[in-house]
């Protein structure tokens, strides 16, 4: 890394040649190192020690809040979380005709039941999903379907909510960046949702989404005549994730807007004036100037939000409890509900690795470190 930088700077030849200063530079380096030492020690103590502890616990069967003896069990926790098994489902044939049976109610073809096909030893695989490929039916089984589903839920939640927040945040930032009266109070007011404690806002939304006309949405839809009977937003699979995404977008779009606004404010006015003179329209200006210049700000905002969204806990826990999990709320359930600290630690490690991968690939993709 250092070598590459040296090469770069010598090519540009703007920086003074480093030879002759090497002694001073070395001394400064040493001083810098010594000054950094306390900070490094603190980081080691407060970040690496607990992390190492979690790594270690993830290889044991430790029980939370208990004096029971702990055993080392190797990779068992990881095997239980991540084992996936794909197998083909044979069609069920009619004994007399040899044709595949069809379900009289739905008219769909009948296949073997995954419950009978998936392996049960040494641990049971539960049905996760089914899919068709080249006219054959396959089933995906997993030893811990709750965990795999929690990963799917979290990723879906993250991708959709961060995307919507980015688009809305950009629009809002552009609006409050233009000059109008009460701009200051507008900017302050826009931050209100973000300033509300997440658990409080989750409870608030829970009431607004209540499955009777007590809930604002059901009352509104009912008044408008859109629905026949109240919708139970938080009860059924289809609405659950969309409701949570809506809450998250409401809550964190202001934060996204704030970060992008910061990027907009450092933009020099004269470029736009020049573009104006050159005859570029507003839309062209946006795509040719604003957006490229905003890239670093957007990158930072995206990283912040994505990493945050991957760790989402409070709104899942408050609004969905044990019925649908995010990675973090499943982690919490395994630790507190089941008191399975070993398994919970393994989940923690997997979340850590996932987020790490996301962070590194983001930084690579958006080239943040070069700016």
């Amino acid at each position: 890394m250092a070598g590459k930088n040296d090469l770069d700077s010598s090519k540009k030849s703007k920086a003074p040649p480093k030879m002759g200063f090497s002694d001073l530079a070395k001394r400064e380096e040493r001083l810098a190192l010594r000054l950094l030492l306390p900070a490094l020690l603190i980081i080691l103590l407060i970040a690496f020690y607990p992390l190492a502890q979690v790594f270690y616990t993830s290889f044991t069967d430790r029980v939370f809040a208990s004096g029971e003896e702990t055993n080392f069990i190797g990779f068992d926790n990881y095997r239980r979380l991540l084992s996936v098994h794909v197998t083909e489902l044979e069609p069920v044939l009619d004994e007399t005709t040899g044709q595949q049976l069809t379900d009289p109610d739905s008219g769909e073809k009948v296949f073997e039941r995954p419950l009978d096909i998936l392996p049960r030893e040494p641990v049971r695989y539960r049905e996760l999903n089914q899919f068709n490929l080249f006219g054959k039916r396959y089933v995906i089984g997993a030893t811990d379907t709750n965990f795999i589903e929690s990963v799917q839920n979290t990723l879906t939640f993250t991708v959709i909510s961060v995307f919507i927040e980015l688009v809305l945040g950009l629009v809002i930032a552009l609006v409050v960046n233009s000059k109008f009266r009460f701009r200051g109070s507008m900017r302050a007011a826009m931050l209100v949702p973000w300033a509300v404690i997440t658990v409080v806002s989750a409870r608030m939304w829970e009431w607004m989404l209540a499955p009777s006309r007590i809930g604002m949405f059901n009352a509104l839809f009912d008044r408008l005549g859109i629905i026949e009977s109240p919708i139970a937003f938080l009860a059924s699979g289809g609405y659950q994730l969309s409701a949570l995404i809506a809450v998250d977008v409401w809550k964190t779009t202001p934060f996204m807007a704030l970060l992008i606004l910061a990027g907009l404010q450092i933009m020099p006015e004269d470029i736009f004036e020049a573009a104006e003179i050159d005859g570029a329209g507003k839309i062209r200006q946006f795509f040719m100037i604003t957006l490229p210049l905003l890239k670093p700000a957007i990158a930072v905002a995206l990283i912040f939000r994505t990493l945050d969204a991957l760790r989402v806990f409070d709104i899942f826990q408050v609004m969905l409890g044990q019925s649908t999990y995010s990675m973090a709320s499943y982690n919490y359930f395994q630790l507190i509900g089941n008191r399975n600290m070993g398994l919970a630690s393994a989940i923690g490690v997997i979340i850590f690795i996932l987020i790490f991968v996301f962070a590194v690939s983001y930084i690579r993709m958006l080239g943040v470190d070069e700016e």
Partner: protein, 440 residues
Amino acid sequence: MLKRNWMFGFVLLLAALTLLVVGCGEPEEVVDDPEVVEPDEVVITVAAGAVGMELELTRDLAEMYSEANEGVTVNVLDTPDMVEDRLGLYLQFFEAQSSEVDVYQIDVIWPGDLAEHFVDLYEYGAGAVADDHFPAIVENNTVDGRLVGIPWFTDAGLLYYRTDLLEKYELDAPQTWDELEEYAQIIQDGEREENPDFWGFVWQGNAYEGLTCDALEWIASNDGGTIIEPEGVITINNPNAIEIVDQAAGWVGTISPEGVTTMAEEESRAVWHAGNAAFMRNWPYAYATSMADDSAVAGVFDVSPLPAGKSGSGAATLGGWQLAVSKYSENPEIAADVALFMASHEGQKYRAVEGTFNPTIMDLYDDPDVLEAAPFFGSLYDVFINAVARPSTVTAPQYAAVSELFYNAVHDVLTGQKNAADAFEELELDLQDLTGFPVE
């Protein structure tokens, strides 16, 4: 200039929010603050529930004790309504071996799991009063000969019904689930004309411990066993259990709101309390709240045993809470004294009269004051002593996991993701894997 404006606005907003937060702080906080307490005073903290009038009554008892015993201040820590969340909070105190909480209100399903964190109350004089309580509950709270919790109040599922509506539609209190279904539909159809928010029957259908209680009642009343029998045999996958759970799934969206699958005790009580339901399944505490001034159903409701299925008689899940003293308490003797006071004849009577919490002391069921406040204590005495226990003793320390598998399986059936036959076939395998018990 504009930038300053913005900053100014932001500061204003922050100031407003701070004021809001300060304004919302409860006045009790000042009393609870340990700093106001004299230096040589002992502070005992009781972690207690806050369902219905619970918290208020616990605070009253704490005050009574503090007044009678100079030098002791009893604080009450309010804890989450959902059993899972409350257990989570307790476990964090135990993991840290914290002395912050001295007395814990624990569920009837916990003594086996948490025994290692509590003192033996027999060592603190509980032997003198243990025989006054229901023997079954004392036995439940005794782990390896140690009394880990003194029974505080017992619970059993009851059917609440609207006497005025039954009269209006010329019906009697339902004796079977089929009757309940039929009556609920009749009343709902009739009331809907004026009140579009009206439902026939509300209960606890969220995926949590409460659903285990409700579903166990359906299944036990239909001769479907108790999930895992006390002798360690898994019985959940049987036709009677499957039949009644499929029937219950049919209530969702017909006589019960779609949202019943997100309701816990207090959510279902809210619907009932506002006069928007003909029937409700709930615990005895709802009797006192339903009689309150702000209740739309005061004076026009009554309670009965839950309806019967195939077995011919209704079943009620045994609930109830105990008081346990933490092993990590700095003053276990005083803490035990507080617990024994709250669970004493006097303490239980106060809670029974003020809040219709079922005493665990047998004599109190003959007490005229108690019977005046809650007449059903006398008439439903059999329901309370014959309540069906959840399989917590036989599966300890894995009951939480057993219950989670069970209520999620039932929840899947209620929300229409599976039928009961498939759900219970799979549940049976899961329970086998988890507990290692044989199947019937």
